[in-house]
Amino acid sequence: MAVRLWEVMERAQNGPFMEENYFVKKSLMPTIKKLIRKYEIKADLSKPVNTSDELADKVWQAGKELFLTVGVYNQDTHRVIEFDEREVNEDLFAAPSYYLVGKNHDLRRYGHRKVEDTEKPFIIMSPDITYDEQVFFNACLSYLKEPLLDGICSPLLGDFMGRPMTSHFPLEIGGSMHHAMTLRETARLAGRPDVFFVAVGTAESDMAQIAVSNDQWGVRAGDARLCGGITELMTNNQMLNKAIHYNQMGNLCAILPGAIYGGYAGGAEGTAILQIAFILQGLCVYGASFSQNFPFHLLYGSNTGREMLWIISAYTQAVARNTHLVNDSNCFANAGPMTDMLFYEGAAHAISSVVSGNNLWTCAPCRNKIHNHGTPLEARFAAEVAHSVVAQHMTREEASEVVNKLLAKYEEKIPHDNYGVPFHEAYDVLKCVPKPEYLDLFYKCKEEVAKMGVNFIY
């Protein structure tokens, strides 16, 4: 939902001038530190799922104050986009609390969730990594066959017609069109022609995104599209171009906020606060309909470690308790397909997210960086865990206990590479089904997770 879109663009062009270095060092970093002290925010990492309402509310207040104090920096114009509290409150009030997405038998409700909510989470599936052109079609089809999928972002392309795609070069437009066409075609073949798309991730630049807007073969009005939040609390003209286009297309514009643990925000407390400010950047600058949240660890690029799960629970509860905004929580796991660690990581992330009041986006394996290494089966696992813990009305206290048991399975292994196997070794590519040995591991891990306290629905 776009409130005062053009007034914001004017601020992006004519707001107060500031050097980028000054914004980071003298505005952003010290303000985060000051707000942690002011609100006395302290992470208790022995409980990887936060159980304190008071702490969640402090995180919200600090994050909102960070956004109001620092604003958002436009790297292209070197201008700060500022808002006053009345405007932020207006945007928060005006934002819808749910959307009806997809059509016909794929119509779904994608809505705000509360802490320990008993409403089903909305599940978006995507590995968020690139695949070979030769398996791309079948990889997309495999995801679309997943029964718990409410929306898809899908695998990405790195090459087009045998050539590496280069950002801002015509090959990027070609590859992005190929992606959009393939996704539309595979959705029909899977019997889900009107399923909700978040597309297309292959298109990095604004021009490539604009090129794939097409009601027949590409991204349609009503699909969702993403606008990055740049490290940290920054934007640029390309992102603003995307936001304008998405809002005018009738897309659900979403911000991609990924506050970095260990980066400019410092530790867990600062990262949670920064994530809130990023969500407000999406709402107020991009007119975002929802936030696709992926705070991650500076060294590992993942978000399934203890401190990351705490951050996810804290910012999620902050938003769930203090707004009616729509959110989802994107899993970045360390391990790869055909490893038990990947299932355990996905489960821990799902529990921390949905019990705290988030929807789920799952799952990017291998620290989101190993080509071809992702399958729908790990997404299915996390989705089954998410629905099950919601159905059994799991509390945050219980969630914290289960997540601690899951962490015991993999916490020590996080620093070590454990990338498993690529899609074509874990799946029968032609039939788009998991290989028996991967399914065996799936069921074995389900039994293990059930023993930890998850009552699987089936």
């Binding site: 795609m165 740049i230 060294l299």
Partner: protein, 212 residues
Amino acid sequence: MEESIKKLTEAIMDGDDEVSAEAAQEIVDAKADLKPVIEKLTDTMRELGRQFEAMEIFLPEMILSADAMVAAMDIFGPVLAESGDIQKKGTVVLGTAPGDMHEIGKNIVVTVLTADGFDVVDLGKNVPAIDYVNKAVENEADVIGVSALMTTTMPGATEVINLLRDKDLYGKFKVIVGGAPTNPNWAKDIGADGWAESAAEAVTLVNNLVQK
């Protein structure tokens, strides 16, 4: 004197550039031998680097400490140059690949290389391939570094190396690459001289390359 050195190392650990400069000036005014002081500072920065890699401290602390180190070196520099004791480690030209807006990784490498004593020319983000080549020539650089965080920006590193070849400059500068989706095999395939997974590895790599 010991007191001023202690004050200086503590100021660097605390990331206080004003106190760091003050302590450095005290040391210069006392006409102390700067060599052992510089060695002490190098040890301090190494310890900070270790703490950062272990996430015992975070990027803000690392940046402020590097700034404090630079503040001290700004005062020591002219004295070292005059005495002939200054040893330039090398010049590194760094940026993110064409089309790539993600620069936190590159910024960390800039910070740790600067703290390690290199002259770093930070080209910023979304740097056209030709700019790497021109700036390396202009600054008589030893190393060119290209960071890419997206698969679609990785070809930008290849473009830099291809330009060096086309301008008969390949081999004149060492080229290093890095970034989340990159790997050592790809680096080798495109003709880079080195690849690093982390900032700490980048420092070791650059030190090794400039010694060759």
